[in-house]
Symmetry: C2
Subunit: 221 residues, 2 copies
DNA sequence: CCTACCGATCGGTAGG
DNA sequence: CCTACCGATCGGTAGG
């Protein structure tokens, strides 16, 4: 049984709409849509089975096309992972910029960052990032991805440094605080059950309440 | 260049000691030692390259033996991972028992748990557990490992429940607190640099100070 | 402990 | 003449 491309993330379409689309939508756009559908399915399979254990045949099967056909849209398997990871950072600039608005209290910005991070890492591409990572990539490809990661890390470290300077945060090593934050949120896809009793926002609120206010009932020095 | 078995985790031995050992140590023990060396090297390579990207040839090469020879000590590749994961939990009972000593304050037990967890996950077998996980295992093999994981998770959840009841901890959903704690420590092998400026104990102290007392300079409701 | 292989499947590409 | 796609097979390597 094979899923249609539409099920892969594009809006659902009827046969009539598909026909209309075929008449009206330029070929480049159809090509780009199909490419995106491939990336989304690949991201799901990579996150589920790992990079090496996912064959191009499996990706093709999910899309109802043969493996050879994939090569009209992609260069090779590694490039597929590369673009999945790039896409996992697609909203990064917006978030990073909001973190620099000093009119908002540091802790409020930190909560916003956590919420953005948690939702990003629990999307198809974000799950691919945290479950697979960049280990399968060659060095040349992984430097690009590492640049995104360093940018996010620096954003948190700067926020912490700023919060300590302003007296909003207790003194703490910014690299360790940042690593702690990414660790707890990057691990969420390993255990989170979308059908369970907690939502992603529940997770964000619980984690951030604890990190900001502490788990101890009586605050200690 | 191939590492000797001794470099793989056994005590260093001179050629003379090896000869003496060959005379005195029973064959079963030598066999078991070699098997452990295989597991340790495998755990390192699995953590570094992933399970599928690590071939049995690579493991053999590091040990100075051919792939076929490995099969005198192991059944198959999956069994190697299985025992690496089992070994990653070898000190679990001792830690779990100490967590049940109610004469020690909850927060103190929690700090001890975190320290044990952090050190365990940054050993060869622990890194294999958190970097590879149990995804490559068949269902039959992975249930055993999941039992260990649930036992650790339950230990934390029980500790949290107990701390809330005794008034030592603020109310918090125990499963989420547990997931947060494992997430931040399980992620450490992804970024930790043994030659960097922080030690594992620095990481534990910073993480636990923040989780227990909060990052905010002024405690908030 | 090694040489010599196997059935299968991998990523990637040929001609049409 | 182009796009999109097929059946078949390439060279290499996996676990065993």
């Amino acid at each position: 049984m094979s899923s249609s491309i539409d099920e892969a993330g594009l809006p659902a379409t009827t046969a009539r709409q598909t026909a209309a689309r075929r008449r009206k939508v330029p070929p480049e756009v159809r090509h780009e849509d199909k490419r995106l559908a491939i990336l989304r399915i690949a991201a799901q399979l990579f996150a589920q089975h790992g990079y090496e254990a996912t064959s191009l045949d499996m990706i093709g099967e999910q899309l109802g096309m043969h493996k050879a056909t994939l090569y009209h849209y992609i260069k090779n398997k590694e490039e597929v992972l590369y673009f999945c990871l790039v896409k996992s950072f697609e909203n990064i600039d917006e978030v990073v910029e909001r973190m620099q608005d000093r009119s908002v209290p540091t802790l409020e910005r930190l909560r916003y960052f956590a919420r953005s991070l948690a939702h990003a890492q629990n999307s198809d591409f974000g799950r691919c990032l945290v479950m697979v990572g960049l280990r399968p990539l060659t060095n040349e490809a992984s430097v690009d991805i590492r640049r995104f990661q360093r940018k996010l890390d620096k954003t948190v470290r700067d926020l912490v440094t700023e919060g300590i300077a302003s007296g909003e945060l207790k003194p703490v090593a910014p690299p360790l605080f940042s690593a702690m934050l990414f660790g707890m949120f990057n691990w969420v896809p390993q255990w989170f059950d979308a059908n369970g009793k907690f939502s992603i926002d529940d997770v964000v609120d619980t984690f951030m309440n604890t990190v900001i206010n502490g788990a101890a009932a009586t605050p200690r020095r």
